[in-house]
């Protein structure tokens, strides 16, 4: 079966600066992948390339069977993205934002009420303009849009950020449910414990490339990759990790 996501030696530029410098990555259908790396490693850029927001300058990029180099708009009805910002209209209510997003995606709006309730927007809360919501509520509203659109591929950039404990638990349930429903999820998160509990696989990024996981030093401020983690090489797909005790958290 073709992978849901395939990047091969993908280069993406901001002006002349390489945001991705030959990144190669494969994600299977229904897989949940955690992108991990320091700030500036290219996690957000990978997500933006997969969403078609960032053009691929050279290399190959295929998402859900569509070639993003040829047409990066082709896949957008089938993906949902949660970015650092909400992508919502502040003057519209939470419900209006959901209706707009679902209609734009050719969906039916009759199913949005349960989604609103799922994310804590029951009753009058759904009628509050997004600009008057707290940052956490805006994050929940963005997640509600993601779910209501019924996307096949979820691209999440720091999804835990801005959420309270209940919100984080809800997000984790959502991701677990998405995996059970066969959705493909690629997400970047610095919430390592939560992320690795959810992810099938961890992909490490540095300098705009997929790299080998760093050797655990014990002094590192980040935990070692879990046993679930798989090694990624720059030029090829994932190679499952053998049970190396050094990599077991």
């Amino acid at each position: 079966m073709a992978p849901a996501v395939r990047l091969h030696e993908a280069v993406a530029l901001a002006g002349r600066f390489p945001l991705l410098a030959g990144a190669s990555l494969e994600v299977g259908e229904g897989e949940v992948v955690h992108l991990r790396g320091p700030n500036g490693a290219g996690k957000t850029s990978v997500l933006k390339v997969l969403a078609g927001l960032l053009a691929v300058h050279s290399g190959e990029a295929t998402v859900l069977g569509r070639d993003l180099v040829a047409d990066r708009r082709a896949v957008r009805r089938e993906i949902g993205m949660l970015g650092h910002q909400s992508f919502l209209y502040e003057e519209l209510t939470v419900e209006e934002n959901l209706r707009f997003a679902v209609r734009a995606n050719r969906g039916v709006v009759t199913g949005i009420r349960p989604v609103l309730e799922q994310f804590g927007f029951a009753g009058r809360l759904a009628s509050i303009p997004v600009g008057r919501c707290s940052a956490g509520q805006q994050r929940r509203a963005s997640l509600a849009v993601l779910v209501a659109r019924g996307a096949r591929l979820w691209l999440l950039d720091e999804p835990h950020a801005g959420l309270d404990q209940d919100g984080r638990d809800l997000l984790d349930e959502l991701l677990t449910g998405a995996r059970a429903a066969g959705r493909t999820v690629v997400f970047a998160s610095h919430e390592l414990e939560r992320a690795e509990a959810i992810a099938d696989r961890v992909v490490h990024l540095a300098g705009g490339r997929v790299v080998e996981p760093p050797e655990p030093t014990g002094a590192s401020d980040s935990p070692a990759p879990s046993a679930q983690a798989a090694r990624q090489t720059i030029s090829g797909p994932a190679v499952p990790v053998t049970e190396d005790p050094a990599h077991v958290a």
Binding site: R76, I79, M81, Q85, Y89, E90, F100, A104
Partner: protein, 222 residues
């Protein structure tokens, strides 16, 4: 495409009605422009009345800049522009929707400005059909050009200063043709406006067509 256009226009108009930026800022701005022209030219209505068509359309042009900037300002908050790109909407539909919303606001504004030139400049309204036709065609042209260049400027840090530089030279034919058409109507010779109305219609159709084709790549690359 038309379905998407209706969706986007509805969204933009809903936001404008709720935020009242048009009512509280663009409308007063346009009236202030009329008043300033009046101050500059003096109180003599024998001077003001013949100039009222040109002053009306200059006020409309300047107000279009504000309306277009506002149209893209609502997309810049919380990266809504990226949200719009991700939405799956047809870019041509987005263009038509945003242009329609701008045009609708301008038409309301023009109704107010028409009252303004009558009261302030002493313009005698006649040839109503030509006045309305010029407003309709001229406004569509202005909204199409503004929406097209607005998407170019909105992706840049210099958008506030770049948009007037891009927009104003291009819409000079609209200013000229609409002013001539209004002049003819206000002078009681609406039959002389025919050629100028044709110019306005051709301009509007041309830029709607260009925008429908070019908006998608401009939105992506902006």
């Amino acid at each position: 495409m038309l379905r998407d256009a209706v969706l986007v226009a509805g969204k933009d108009l809903r936001i404008e009605i709720r935020s009242r930026v048009g009512l509280n800022q663009i409308g007063p701005f346009a009236i202030a422009v009329l008043l300033l022209f009046g101050l500059a030219l003096g109180p003599d209505r024998r001077v003001l009345a013949p100039a009222s068509a040109g002053l009306f359309w200059v006020a409309v042009l300047l107000s279009t800049l504000l309306a277009v900037q506002r149209s893209y300002a609502i997309e810049s908050a919380d990266a809504a522009r990226d949200g719009l790109r991700l939405s799956g909407l047809d870019p041509a539909g987005i263009f038509l929707g945003k242009a329609s919303a701008v045009a609708a606001q301008l038409l309301v504004l023009e109704a107010g400005l028409t009252v303004g030139v009558t009261l302030l400049y002493g313009a005698h309204l006649s040839g109503a059909l030509v006045l309305v036709a010029a407003c309709a065609a001229g406004t569509l042209g202005l909204a199409a050009v503004g929406t097209l260049y607005g998407v170019v400027a909105s992706g840049l840090r210099t958008r506030e200063t770049l948009l007037p530089l891009l927009f104003l030279p291009v819409v000079a034919p609209v200013l000229l043709a609409a002013t001539k058409a209004w002049d003819a109507a206000l002078a009681g010779t609406p039959s002389h406006a025919g050629g100028w109305l044709d110019v306005l219609v051709v301009f509007a159709v041309l830029y709607i067509a260009i925008g429908t084709v070019a908006f998608g790549p401009l939105l992506e690359d902006g």
